[in-house]
Amino acid sequence: MTRKDVVITGIGLVSSLGEGPDAHWEVLSKPGAAPVLDEAAFAPYAVHPLPALNLDAQIPKKGDQRQMEPWQRLGTYAAGLAIDQAGARGLVSDMHLIVAAGGGERDIAVDEAVATALCTTPPAEAGPILNERLGTDLRPTLFLAQLSNLLAGNISIVHGVTGSSRTFMGEEQAAADAVRIAAARLAEGRGGIALVGGAYVSQRWDLVLLYGAGGAVWRGPFAPVSARTGAGGFVGGALGAFLVLETAEHAAARGAKPLARLAGVACDATHKRAGGASAAAAKALHAKLGAPAGAGLGVLSGMTGVAEARAEEDAFLAGLGGAAVRRTGSLIGHGVEAAFPANVALGALALSRGGFYPAMDPADAGDGPVERILVTGFGQWRGEALALLERAA
């Protein structure tokens, strides 16, 4: 089967640093960029907060905004930015969609009140009271705001994307596979244009609780990803990241200018991480992509800061010679399902501007100019993923 070339024609990026390609390039292309942090609200956990967004610009109907909570709004907003940059508003009806999703917000106040009130009540007594409380306290629409597949649903409703709609679940790995499969479907001729990405809202206790139980969240004052001692951990970063992918011929036919060529995406998930298994898996993916090493290669690492994954990734990166490595998590934080698409977006941005980024983390080494960019995605628990980007022809 002939594989069609796949290019990136739009990126929609929102992080604690701001929104859009210009804002990110402005901050990240200059040395000495500093992370935006809130170290108080979720202490002892630091977070990179969501910037103020003019939601009306991407979600014009207030009714739609009300049906969503921050996670769906952020994703829907970032998806709209990507469609706009690609100039693809007129192409949404046949645009394919894959979203990598976690769960949406819960009603924290209800959860805390009910847990406090009923935790010591014997189950047979607590059951009926729980039923009554939930029946009266839960807002019906909150269910829809929480459902994972309703981020995709809202993107269909707000932006009219209706070619197809799939939602992958599984933290970092889900997003890498989303990008991989969206690109593979285009390459084999299933449609000409696709939208893929995810969103992560860092200012949520329910997520700190979930990921914190596994020791995956960094506890203590902010430190760059390479400098998080002990078991390490990630600092959650608000992140909305969507990509418009197109076959090169589809983009050319409508006169859209590609930001970069997506040369390949490869994913795996070793069942045991430590002891070199994960690094070896990544090395095999690197070979599978036919990716280069050494000078001229830029690496945008999705390193979370979780120590076990970091050790494996460091071992993999050590085999890439003099490549210029940038640990983006030290400036934008870790956005779980949005991390991989965000780093692909930052890669496309750099290639489109003909430059690369200065060091973002004390461990970052190597220097430009950069011809090709490798994006890494070692999940906090499982999953290894790589994407290779090249300058668009």
Binding site: L97, E112, I157, A184, G383
Partner: protein
């Protein structure tokens, strides 16, 4: 060995099914052909103050023996593992935990449930705040790995030795069909010769029941549980939540033939179309579900007239069944093929439904028996379809079945299942 578009034909060589009716393919199929309902009063938790007190439930053996009720991800994983085991045994492929292809897991989103919340609050000396829960949850790798979205898929992938990263996905009520579509595409694009597609759901717990109830999606016909699910019938007033799992072993026809496997059928077409009308309702013009049905038939290289039977989405909500009728008439014209709803017997197994119904579609072709739509007492004059009322029907010459799945959030997926060539 190739289809009309030059892609490898995708064969089904193994089927595994778990529903409230039974653990196991043949026992399920026998019960469905007999028109048996698997719906009962919920016994898993107190139902006082609930509007709906019935569901289809699948108890694990240790629960049936009086053990503690497990959480949704545990139930999903156990049912899924049983369905995959059964499918692999039938396919005689991937023994010893080394399956030669990827795993596509259709499953619901999972999260801490109230037993976990109460437990953490007790450990925090009665403080139910998230901050306190986070403190006492530190080091609870068990909670983390159970409730991570990637957890169930990771454990199943490790157990069955599937290749690459497992992909867990959700498209609401179309999830199981999406998982099958993902597996078919992987084989069609030559990524692998084989794949496992799975749909599983085990969401009958208080909060999920209440949430669906608050959306006015569930019937409250609690008095006679076995009569509650009434797809296409005049007095239908909502669906019945249920649980289950189905797994298919898929492989290229060439791969199956070479190794001398018995081909149970061909997954000949997949079609999808998203709706942008409303979060829980289809566009009144039916355009998205019509396109999904047509896309599946086109993808199989068939004409509507080639479809001999439709396995309905048929949830039993007033809205769905009306829209599905509209779609059927638009696609098939004045003489639509018979259509029936398994959900009349097993309820709506949500993320599992698309996979379970594809599995039943294959068995429909194998035995040339259309399963009935039970509880069909009063025909709805607006449902101008042959719904195979109440009693299974023997047919002959049935080669192609369309299986419909329409989800909340506008995610619609249809599959065409065909007889082995």
């Amino acid at each position: 060995m190739k289809d009309h578009l030059g892609r490898p034909l995708v064969a089904v060589t193994g089927i595994g099914i778990v529903t409230p009716l039974a653990w196991g393919r043949e026992a399920n199929w026998a019960a469905v052909k007999a028109g048996t309902s698997g719906i009962s009063r919920i016994r898993r938790f107190p139902v006082d103050k609930l509007r709906t007190t019935i569901a289809g439930t699948v108890e694990l053996p240790e629960e049936a023996a009086g053990g503690e009720v497990v959480s949704s991800p545990v139930r999903v994983e156990r049912m899924a593992a049983a369905a995959v085991e059964e499918a692999l045994a039938q396919a005689a492929l991937g023994a010893g935990g080394a399956f030669p292809g990827p795993l596509m897991v259709g499953m619901p989103p999972v999260e801490y449930e109230w037993p976990q919340r109460f437990d953490l609050a007790r450990r925090a000396n009665g403080n139910g705040s998230y901050r306190a829960a986070t403190e006492v949850a530190a080091g609870r790798q068990d909670l983390y790995e159970t409730f991570l979205y990637g957890g169930v898929g990771e454990r199943l992938a490790a157990r069955f030795g599937t290749t690459g990263a497992p992909i867990a996905l959700t498209t609401a009520c179309a999830t199981g069909a999406s998982a099958i579509q993902m597996a078919v595409e992987a084989i069609q694009r030559g990524e692998s010769d084989a794949a496992i597609a799975l749909g599983a759901d085990g969401s009958v717990q208080p909060e999920a029941v209440i949430r669906f109830s608050l959306l006015s999606a569930l019937t409250a016909r609690n008095e006679e549980p076995t009569k509650a699910s009434r797809p296409f019938e005049k007095t239908r007033d909502g669906f019945v939540m249920s649980e289950g799992a189905a797994a298919l072993v898929l492989e290229s026809l060439e791969h199956a033939t070479k190794r001398g496997a018995t081909v149970l059928g061909i997954l000949s077409g997949c079609g999808e179309r998203a709706d942008n009308f409303h979060r829980t309702r289809s566009n009144p013009d039916g355009s998205a579900i019509i396109r999904a049905m047509r896309n599946a038939i086109d993808d199989a290289g068939l004409q509507p007239g080639d479809i001999g039977y439709v396995n309905a989405h048929g949830t039993g909500t007033p809205e769905n069944d009306k829209m599905e009728t509209l779609g059927m008439r638009a696609v098939f014209g004045d003489a639509p093929p018979p259509i029936s709803s398994n959900k009349s017997m097993i309820g709506h197994t949500l993320s599992a439904a698309g996979a379970i119904e594809a599995a039943f579609s294959l068995l429909t072709i194998r035995d040339q028996v259309l399963p009935p739509t039970i509880n069909h007492n009063e025909p709805d004059p607006a449902i101008t379809l042959d719904v195979v009322p109440n009693v299974a029907r023997q047919v002959s010459g049935l080669r192609h079945v369309l299986s419909n799945s329409f989800g909340f959030g506008g995610q619609n997926v249809c599959l065409v299942v065909s007889a082995a060539p």
